[in-house]
């Protein structure tokens, strides 16, 4: 499906380019007879092509400048940011545990609850987290030697902790007293068709919030 779409896109783009260029040349040829040197006409002919390529040029310039800066930022701060996020999760977690009186999340189905349940409904929370390219580089070097790839492990566990904490906060906001049957899904944001795309994981936690009867 996707390959067909891509082909259609490519064909359309090339046809458009061809028409543009052809009309440009035709116009230039026609005008050449009347006036020998007219830069305005040449600009008119090349204008659409230039306009079309302008966004790519701008993106290229921004990419060459901002890319290395972001990489450097990753080298310096990605580990620290991760630690900060983990600290904040731990703080918020203790706040919600205080609110609920215990950790509300469980994978139980609720058959163990004695008093009965008066109300229930779905709660869910998601979190998209990406390792920095610096961390990916370290992970790649780690992979060469084999064994534990600790960087990725840390990234994923921070993501999971954050998603779980968001689920607790959602449950608290909706007024549930407990969350049953919690599932945690991890989905890669990088599609197999584009392995060079964004390297991020989406962590999605969901469960059933209940109120005790």
């Amino acid at each position: 499906m996707r390959s067909i779409d891509a082909k259609v896109g490519t064909i359309t783009a090339s046809v458009m380019m061809a028409v543009l260029m052809f009309s440009g040349f035709a116009l230039a040829q026609a005008e050449e007879v009347k006036s020998e040197d007219s830069p305005a006409i040449a600009l008119l002919c090349l204008g659409p092509i230039l306009l079309f390529s302008l966004p790519f040029v701008v993106f290229g310039i921004v990419w060459t400048i901002v890319g290395p800066i972001m990489f450097l930022y990753g080298v310096l701060f990605s580990e620290r940011n991760m630690r900060k996020r983990m600290d904040s999760v731990v703080l918020r977690e203790s706040a919600s545990i205080e609110h609920f009186g215990k950790d509300p999340l469980s994978t139980l189905k609720g058959t163990n609850i004695v008093g009965g349940i008066s109300d229930s409904g779905l709660v869910y929370a998601s979190f998209v987290y990406s390792p920095s390219h610096w961390q990916l580089l370290i992970a790649w070097i780690n992979q060469l030697f084999g064994g534990r790839v600790d960087v990725m492990h840390r990234v994923i566990s921070v993501g999971r902790a954050e998603a779980k904490q968001r689920l607790r906060e959602q449950a608290r906001a909706a007024g549930w007293q407990d969350v049953l049957n919690v599932r945690i899904d991890t989905a890669e944001m990088t599609p197999p068709s584009n392995p060079k795309g964004t390297k991020a994981v989406e962590i999605f936690a969901y469960g059933t919030g209940i109120k005790f009867g």
């Binding site: 229930s120 584009n194 059933t208 919030g209």
Partner: protein, 111 residues
């Protein structure tokens, strides 16, 4: 967040505590493919190099999930159900910018 959407209870447990399932109306589902505009994609591309949360994509998935659930609920309503039990989610990245979200569950009548 609404837990009862248009009179339909949505849970991911197999039963609804305190209620009895009287009739099974089959599997219902809703799916959606959404994408952020190119500006947000480019922003995420740069953010990705530095690492951290990609907020644009968190939002995107949240919106898509709400839409998928709304469609699932509409499907259940069309069948005359009053609850959906055992809801599951599936995600697949269709292309670089877009993702498909699928929510499905069993539509039932409860009393």
């Amino acid at each position: 967040m609404q837990h009862i959407r248009d009179g339909i209870m949505v849970v991911n447990t197999e039963t609804i505590a305190g209620k009895v399932i009287t009739q099974n109306l089959g599997v219902v589902g809703g799916s959606t493919v959404r994408a952020k505009h190119i500006g947000k994609d480019i922003g995420a591309l740069f953010k990705n190099i530095g690492g951290g949360e990609l907020r644009a994509y968190t939002e995107l998935l949240e919106e898509s999930r709400n839409e998928a659930i709304a469609r699932m609920v509409a499907d259940a309503q069309a069948r005359g159900a009053n609850a959906i039990v055992n809801v599951r989610f599936a995600t697949s990245a269709v292309t670089a910018g877009a993702s498909e979200l699928f929510a499905y569950g069993t539509a039932v009548l409860v009393e």
